[in-house]
């Protein structure tokens, strides 16, 4: 692949020898470029860009899918005065609070895996396996854990804590159950990200630390974490965006958003208001709020990445 004789910045030989031929060439090349880019551009324009514009427009209307009437900021005013909306925001904050745990646990486990103890390859495969199953299936199993006759109650009873509650119908425990299931689900993905990151670290640094008598905890805190910052950041953004935009199916199966709005998050509220209540304009406004949140997170992340590269 690398030819030592070739200069690093390859000159354009055609341009030097026959400028006209090169011009013709680059024109046909650009034309080919447009043709090859066309399918993806058209697809994304029609099914992402246009709908986003529509969602934005309809968020200022009362809309039932057929007719719409302009209400200005009405939907947004109604949204911010809606007590259910604030409960929904609180649920998103609960998920946000779960994110550090969803990162820290995989980080610790990846550290152990990286020590290459007996069977670490097997463990790695097992941990990553849930990545392949759907949120629907995960939700099915989670119900059997958190329900009244579920496994968690049995375990608690075994420990002498005979609470016997249906965690999925408690005002706050339902959201907590969703958050715990979420942490379980992203464990494998984050572990893999951190193992990949640790594989890039210099083992000599660890040897040096060991020679200096540093404890495992100290090396983890003082060497592993700082050197892995790039990976921690990546998994943070991935986990947060998963939490805010990928849990629809899990909530749909586990709680249906209830009790009341006890486990309804922004993304679920869009579905609920749109397809259950039929307030398409109001739901569009909620979708725009969700978009604003995700977009802000992504941009902040990009900025962070850029400033690090400079």
């Amino acid at each position: 692949m690398t030819n030592p004789a070739a200069p690093l910045d390859s000159p354009k030989p055609l341009a030097a020898v026959r400028p006209r031929a090169h011009q013709r060439l680059s024109r046909s090349r650009r034309r080919a470029g447009i043709l090859f880019a066309l399918p993806v551009v058209v697809l994304e324009f029609l099914l992402l860009a246009v709908p986003l514009g529509q969602a934005f427009y309809y968020s200022f209307t009362r809309w039932d899918g057929i007719t719409s009437s302009w209400v200005g900021l009405g939907n947004y005013q109604r949204l911010f005065a809606d007590p259910n909306f604030w409960r929904v925001i609180l649920n998103n904050l609960i998920l946000l609070a779960a994110v550090p745990l969803a990162i820290l646990i995989p980080l610790l486990v990846a550290y152990l895996l990286n020590e290459h103890v007996l069977g670490w390859r097997f463990f790695r495969s097992v941990y990553f396996l849930p990545t392949a199953i759907s949120w629907v299936v995960i939700g099915m199993v989670a119900i059997r854990v958190f329900a009244l006759e579920g496994i968690l109650n049995a375990i608690l009873a075994g420990l002498g804590l005979d609470v016997q509650t249906d965690f999925l119908s408690g005002e706050y425990s339902a959201m907590l159950a969703v958050a715990i299931t979420f942490i379980w689900s992203v464990f494998g993905t984050n572990t893999i990200i951190f193992i990949t990151g640790m594989a890039t670290l210099d083992r000599e640094v660890y040897e040096a630390a060991r020679v200096d008598g540093a404890s495992a905890f100290t090396t983890f805190r003082k060497i592993t974490i700082p050197m892995l910052m790039r990976f921690v950041q990546f998994s943070f953004i991935l986990t947060l965006i998963t939490a805010f935009t990928a849990l629809f199916s899990l909530i749909f199966i586990m709680t249906g958003g209830g009790p009341g709005f006890g486990s309804t998050t922004l993304e679920f509220y869009v579905y609920q208001q749109g397809f259950k209540v039929g307030s398409f304009g109001y739901a569009a406004a909620i979708g725009i709020v969700l978009f604003a949140v995700v977009f802000t997170i992504s941009i902040a992340q990009l900025r962070l990445f850029r400033s690090r590269l400079d």
Binding site: A32, I34, A37, P39, G65, I66, L129, V141, F244, G274
Partner: protein, 272 residues
């Protein structure tokens, strides 16, 4: 003293990893064991039978739903592969006025949550093309959702292929289409596999798009079928667990075969 202590540390580490493995494998064990009981045996907590598996095939058109899932998954993945390889080739190797801008615009598609646009998409497809309950609608929506990341992966991959290769082929008189087919596609098989594996699992496991665009029983996917069964009036837990296993199995098989590609696709975002 020291070697013993190190061995002890490693033993503790091993024990922790075992506990974590049990927690991660628990759902699979639960699904298998529960599905092997009839409803009465499940309530009684003893005995094994295949009654729930028989019941599953009575309650749910499993094979038809597996077929429907296969149709939308294969269709969606193929469409994603077509647009992401051609797009990646254009952005990485050909270029045109505004290609940089177009590339960034497509990448920013990754930042749009599906829920933010799903209502207009649904209304457009229902009213403009009357496409609800038709496979092509779901396939196109899946492709639109999956293509930004796929295009990003393919573009990054094509950028790593030396441009000289394209230039040399042009001098030999090859057309840009021939270069794409004879040079770029064969070289990018690893990236194509990665995109395909990621998207197969994504689409197979999806609920929302299927729920909205494939509503009637004859076009239902297995994932949607399962969700419908769960929300039904009579909930038969062992049957549900059997259904969960059936729906999870294809994705697990893909995972076991292509684990490496999956990991590569996942971590490609960081190594940029």
């Amino acid at each position: 003293m020291r070697p013993t202590r190190r061995r002890l540390t490693r033993l503790v580490m091993f024990a922790i990893l075992c506990v974590v493995a049990v927690i991660m494998l628990f759902p699979f064990v639960l699904m298998i064991l529960t599905s092997l009981r009839s409803r009465d045996q499940y309530i009684a907590g003893s005995g094994f039978s295949l009654a729930s598996w028989q019941n599953l095939f009575v309650q749910m058109p499993v094979l038809a739903q597996l077929w429907n899932s296969t149709v939308v998954t294969v269709g969606g993945v193929l469409l994603i592969l077509v647009v992401s390889t051609t797009g990646g080739y254009a952005f990485a190797k050909l270029g045109f006025r505004g290609s940089g801008l177009a590339f960034v615009a497509i990448l920013s598609g990754m930042m749009i949550p599906i829920q933010s646009i799903i209502i207009p998409v649904y209304v457009d497809i229902a009213r403009v093309v009357h496409g609800v309950n038709q496979f092509p609608s779901a396939i196109v929506v899946y492709a639109a959702i999956g293509s930004p990341f796929a295009t990003y992966l393919m573009t990054t991959y094509y950028r790593s292929i030396p441009t000289e290769l394209v230039e040399a082929s042009v001098m030999d008189g090859a057309s840009y289409w021939q270069i794409f087919r004879k040079v770029m596609l064969p070289l990018s098989v690893p990236a194509i596999t990665t995109v395909a594996v990621l998207q197969v699992i994504q689409i197979w496991d999806d609920l929302l798009v299927g729920l909205l665009f494939l509503q009637t029983p004859d076009v239902r996917t297995i994932t949607v079928g399962l969700a419908v069964l769960q929300n039904g009036r009579v909930v038969n837990i062992p049957t549900l667990m059997a259904g969960s296993l059936v729906s999870a199995l294809p994705a697990i098989i893909v995972y076991l075969i292509f684990q490496r590609n999956l990991i590569r696709g996942l971590t490609m975002g960081v190594n940029k």
